[in-house]
Structure formats: C-alpha cells, structure tokens
C-alpha cells in the first residue's frame, strides 16, 4: 500500500461499540466527572485568580465541614441530605414518565402546585390537629400534582399534543398561580407569605429522633424503593416499558396505550406534587414562585443519567447536591454570587452527557503509516 493513500485516511474515525462492561462505564463516568470538576475549577480560577486546591477545599466544606463536625455540628451534611432527598423525590416522580418516553418537563410546575395547596391548607386549616392536617396536606398536594400531570397526558393520549412544551407551559401557569395565591394569602401587600404558622408550627413536619429532616429521608427512600419495585416487578411497570420502547408494540400486545399514558402521568405528577409538600411542610414552611427552584429541571437530568434506576438516582442526586452546596460555599467564601453553582452544574452535566458517547462508540485514530492494513479493529481508545 502506498504511503500516499494511507496519509489520506481520516485522522479520527468512530465505530460502534458492542456492549459496554459495567467497569468501563463506571470508569468513563468517573473520568467525565473529573474532567467536569477540572474545567469548573479552571473557570473559577480564571474569574477569581484563586488557587484551585483552595477552591476544592472550600467546595468540600459546603457539605463536609470537618471543623464543624469536630464540634459535633452536622448541620451542613443534614442540609445536603435533605436537598438530596428532595431532588430524589422529584427524580423518582419523573422516572416512570421518562421510561415511557413521555418528556415531562413540568416537574417544576407539578411541585409548585403541590407546594401551593399544602401552603393553602396550612394557612386555612390551621385549627385541625397536626397529624390530620399533615395528611390532608399530603393528599391535597398529591391531587394537585396529579392534576398538573393529567392535563398534558390527556391531550398527548388523545391528540398526540407535544408534551414537552405543554408541560413546560404548565410550569409558567403554576408560577403565575403561586404569585396570585401569595397575594391572596398575604394581606400586608408585601408579595410574600413569610414563614407560615411560625409560632404554632401547624402543618410542619415534626422532627424524628431529634432530627429535623429524618422524615424527608424516609419519604424519599420509601418512594425510591416503591418506584423501583413498581417499574421492575409489576404489570404497570411492564406496560410502561413496552409503551416507552414502541407504541406499536404496545398496541400489538393489546395494551391500552392511552390509559397507560394517563395513569403514568398521574403517578408522576402526584409524586412531584408530594415533593412540593415535602418542601413546604418539612423544609421551607413557606411558598413562593422559587419554591421549586429549578429542581424540576435538574431532576430530569438525574432521572435520565440514572437510566431510571432509582438507586443510581440517589447517587446522582447526592453528587449534584454536593456540587451545588460546594459552589454556594465557594461563592460565599470568595464573595461571588451563588449563580455560580448553576453554572458549574451545567459544566458538569455537559461532561457527563458527553461521556455517554464513550460507552457506546469507540474512536479509532489513524494508524501509523507502517502498520496500516494489518489487523482489523485495532487502535481502541477511550
């Protein structure tokens, strides 16, 4: 073979990879994460001119502040776990919808509506005994979230209406509804309801074993386990998988696709609504348009990256919360505003998303001139 032709071979080629070992994918994602961290550190360095190691140390302190822990203060870790639990809740809610290939971008709105009705119950039913009130709040938030999931599902099932934009628009309607409701609840014209029932703590999730946020963890863990079982071992879960794989196959199998879409979105919306209840009752005790705070979007990525395995979701949620807390710590330590956490989350997400490529494809670099044409499938490279 003449050197001339070899030199014209493309420098980089891409070929499909058949199957990917678990070890390899873990390695790939780990490297991707590392790359994301490196790049975000470089960005912070460029902005602040700080030593990257200091930045990382500060980041770690966002979750694990060893000095405080030495004094017996576990606050930051609890906050991180609390936020992880909330993110996981929403992710668990989204899992069935996404497994069905229903792009529910509306977790934000479903959660807001859940939070809104919870807050409404707290304000208007504060005379009820607390356990009853909590139950009513939970039920109401489930219903509100389910309604917000139901509407796009019905139109998707009936007319094939684009659910991505429908659910998205439902978010904004929910935001306006919350703003409207805040003005209704609050008679002081301050556009804020403040902390609800600050003195009576009515409708507040009680602490458990002296921990404020243990309930949050229990709820999230229970939901994660139930959802795992639901998706994997029940007929409903089976139907969701079939519909998600191919609607035609589902019809062929005699599955009522419309029913499955609506039912699944009711569940998805309900769980996201419940997450709103958790936020209002067990964390913030207030309601505003930033109650959901973009978690509905982050949770989509959590669910997607975990391939709908709720246990992996817990890990990814923890990771994202860790990053978020770290970025907030950096911003407060170095006097930056905390939008930096969103930026860093974005960077890391890009890296993790890009990583998927290396589990499904392999890159083949141009062979050296001498060794050309020897054996197939050489030059494997991550």
């Amino acid at each position: 073979m003449s050197l001339h032709t070899v030199a014209k071979e493309p420098f980089i080629r891409i070929a499909k990879r058949e199957g990917c070992t678990v070890r390899r994918s873990i390695l790939v994602y780990f490297l991707g994460l590392l790359g994301g961290l490196l790049v975000s550190a470089v960005i912070i360095m460029l902005i602040t001119g700080l030593n990257p190691l200091e930045v990382y140390a500060s980041m770690l302190r966002g979750t694990l502040d060893f000095e405080a822990i030495a004094q017996g203060k576990w606050n930051k870790l609890w906050y991180a776990l609390r936020d992880t639990a909330l993110l996981l809740c929403i992710g668990v809610g989204l899992a069935p919808a996404f497994k069905m290939r229903f792009w529910n971008i509306g977790a934000e709105g479903q959660m807001l509506m859940g939070g809104l009705v919870s807050a409404a119950c707290m304000i208007n039913l504060s005379d009820l005994p607390n356990p009853l009130l909590l139950l009513i709040m939970a039920a109401a938030s489930i219903a509100a979230g389910a309604l917000w999931g139901f509407l796009p599902a019905v139109f998707k099932a009936k007319f094939g209406t684009n659910e991505t934009l429908f659910t998205l628009m439902m978010n904004y309607i929910a935001i306006q509804a919350v703003e409207l409701a805040v003005d209704i609840f609050d008679k002081k014209q301050s556009h804020s309801v403040g902390v609800i029932n600050l003195l009576t703590e009515k409708g507040w999730m009680p602490d458990l074993l002296g921990q404020d946020y243990l309930w949050n963890l229990i709820i999230a863990a229970a939901l994660a386990v139930c959802m795992y079982v639901y998706l994997k071992y029940t007929k409903h879960g089976y139907e969701i998988s079939v519909v998600g794989d191919s609607v035609n196959t589902a019809r062929y199998a005699g599955i009522n696709v419309k029913k499955v879409i609506v039912r699944t979105m009711l569940i998805s919306g309900a769980i996201c609504g419940l997450a709103g209840f958790v936020e209002v009752s067990a964390i913030s005790h207030t309601i505003s348009k930033s109650t959901a705070g973009g978690r509905g979007f982050t949770a989509i990525i959590v669910a997607w990256l975990a391939k709908f395995n709720t246990f992996v979701m817990a890990l990814i949620s923890l990771l994202l919360v860790f990053l978020d807390k770290g970025a907030v710590a950096i911003s407060s330590d170095f006097g930056l505003n905390d939008y930096i956490s969103q930026m860093i989350t974005g960077v890391i997400l890009f890296f993790i998303l890009g990583c998927e490529f290396f589990t499904g494809y392999r890159v083949i670099f141009r062979r050296k001139a001498g060794s050309a044409g020897k054996a197939p499938a050489e030059g494997e490279n991550a």
């Binding site: 209406t161 904004y172 409207l180 209704i184 014209q189 990525i301 939008y339 930026m343 997400l349 890009f350």
Partner: protein
C-alpha cells in the same frame, strides 16, 4: 382604565417589541431544527447572548466614561450584536459538539444548556452589577438609545399610523427582514434545500454527498446566534440596557420554542405569530377595570393591579391551546423535520 386609542397603540407597540424578542428566538430555532437538531437550550443561548452584549457594552461605555468621551452609538450597537451573536453561537457550538459529535440525547443536552446559560448569565450579571455599584445600577443608556433610535426617513407625522408602524428602532424591522430572508433561504436556495434534506433524512443527505455533521454544526451555531440576538434585543431594547435576574429571558426563550411549532417550521409565520404572543402578554393593560375589580374581589385580592398575575397566564394558556389545536389538525406540509431530535451515525446498521 378605558380602552382608548392611546391604550391600543401602546398595546400594539409593546406587543411588537415583545414579539421581536421571540421572533428572533423562533427564527434561530427554526434554522436549528431544520437541520434535525432540537435545541431546547434556546433560553440558555438567549441568556448568553444577552449577558455577552451587556458585558461588551458595559466595558465600552464605562471605558468611555473613564476617558470622558461619549460612547459612539453605532459602536455600541456593533459591540452588542457581535458579542451577543458570538457568545450564543458558542453555546450552539457546545450543544452541537455534545449532540452531533458525541451523539448525546438532544433534549437533555438542551436542558443542560439552559441551566448553564442561565447560571452563567446571572453569575456574570451579578458580577457586573457588583462592579457597577449594586442592584439596578447598570444602565447602558448610550447603547439603549442607539438601539431605540428611530429610522430617520420614515414619516413621523402620520399620527397613529406612524406610532404603530414607524416608531421602532432598526432591529425590529431587521427581525422581520430576517424572517422573510430565512424563509427564502430555506425554500429557494440550494443550501436551504441541502439543509432541509439533512433534517428530513440525514442518511439520504449523506449519501448525496452533503456533509451532514458540518451542516448540523453550522445551522445550530448560526441558529443559536440568532436566538442570542433575541437576548441582545431584550436586554438592550426591551429593558433598556439593564440587567435583571428575574428569569424573564427563560420564559421568553421557551415561548420562542413553542412558537416554532405554531409556525409549522416556516419563518414567515413567526412574524405574525410572535406579535400575537406579544398581544397575549400585554393585553392585560387593556383589560376593562370592571373585570379586574370583579376578579380581585372574587379572589380576595387587596389590590386590583394584583390581577396581573392572572392575566400573565394568558400567553402560556394561549400556547397550550395552539399546541392542542395544532395537534388536532395535522397537515403533511407543516410537520416537523422527519429526523428531528435524532442523532445520526453513518455506520449505523
């Protein structure tokens, strides 16, 4: 508040300005989607465009202020447009790299881009605000003025007609021209034909010798750049050279994405579609007071103006209605490009 001519004129001009933002976003997204890339990062790239133009003009204007010279209007405009376009196109480049080269899921990547763009813009917006002395202190008056400068030779003395048709800055007209030009590009030129082929069937385009990857990259980057101009217009024209981290650009970005479906992937339809969305948004200024009073008392609101939050649902509800109606009567000609949202790999078997 009575429905007066002045009210109506204000409604129309406001709607046109509002519409221009999403028209630019929509046109950019149509160009992107025609190549088969569904970029849900429109809000993100609009943010990037907005913040980059703000940063560029802030540097220029404060530099002039330090030197004691007056900033030149045309330079302000050029800096804003170039910075905005470039930053947004870079966002598009990032998106293309991840979805076209690395073949990641387009929806998720788009959402990540939105998160990233919003974070980056608000972060730097915060930095600039801090630098300029606190919240609400950024005021790029020279740039805003230059953007808002009316076109000299258009008649100004035709009363209402002038106000409704000729009272805008050049960019409003430029957006309309862009929409028309893009329609012509897509339907009449060979490059447009090739681009559409890529979006319809990348395998066909590839077999015909069109470089699919390059085409996707190019249209996504230019499309994102145009979306970014929407961000520039919002910052420099709509809110007059200020910065606010109220998440408003994000909402506009999503409306732009929704508008794409509304237009049936035809940029000319974006012209009236976007103005219509604008009317939906601003129509509350023309709501009869009796209605507002009735609503306020029914809902238990302390102020009549608080009913605004109810009216502001309108554009979103309208969008939903548009989506539903569009899905009920589907036509073959107005459909999304066939391979929209799918990544292409030549050696796929």
């Amino acid at each position: 508040m009575l429905m007066t001519i002045a009210n109506l004129v204000a409604l129309i001009t406001n709607s046109v300005l509002f519409g221009t933002v999403i028209m630019l976003g929509c046109c950019g997204e149509i160009l992107t989607e025609k190549s088969g890339n569904l970029n849900l990062g429109v809000p993100g790239v609009m943010y990037l465009g907005g913040i980059a133009s703000l940063a560029g003009c802030y540097a220029y204007e404060s530099g002039c202020a330090a030197k004691g010279t007056t900033p030149a209007g045309y330079l302000c405009v050029i800096i804003a447009l170039v910075c905005g376009f470039a930053a947004a196109a870079l966002g598009g480049l990032l998106y293309s790299f991840i979805t076209v080269t690395l073949r990641a899921n387009q929806n998720v990547t788009g959402l990540a881009l939105t998160i990233f763009g919003a974070g980056t813009a608000n972060f730097f917006g915060g930095l600039i605000m801090q630098k300029s002395g606190g919240v609400g202190t950024i005021n790029l008056s020279a740039t805003a003025q230059a953007f808002r400068a009316q076109i000299p030779f258009l008649p100004k003395n035709w009363g209402v007609v002038s106000e409704v048709l000729f009272s805008y800055g050049a960019m409003v007209y430029a957006a309309v021209i862009l929409a028309v030009a893009m329609s012509l590009f897509l339907s009449k030129t060979r490059a447009g034909l090739n681009l559409r082929a890529v979006g319809e069937s990348p395998a066909t385009a590839d077999a015909a010798g069109i470089r699919v990857g390059r085409c996707k990259y190019l249209s996504t980057c230019v499309g994102a750049g145009i979306c970014g101009l929407g961000g520039v217009f919002y910052i420099m024209y709509y809110i007059k050279g200020m910065w606010a981290n109220d998440g408003y650009i994000e909402a506009l970005g999503w409306l732009a994405v929704a508008l794409v479906i509304f237009t049936g992937w035809r940029p000319v339809n974006a012209i009236w579609g976007s103005y219509l969305f604008g009317v939906c948004y601003w129509v509350y200024t023309c709501m009869p007071e009796a209605v507002s009073r009735f609503l306020a008392s029914t809902l238990g609101l302390t102020q009549i103006t608080y009913t605004q939050n109810l009216y502001k649902m309108l554009p979103y509800i309208a969008t939903i209605l548009v989506l539903i109606i569009g899905s009920i009567r589907q036509k073959k000609e107005n459909q999304a490009p066939q391979s929209l949202g799918l990544s292409y790999f030549r050696e796929e078997r």
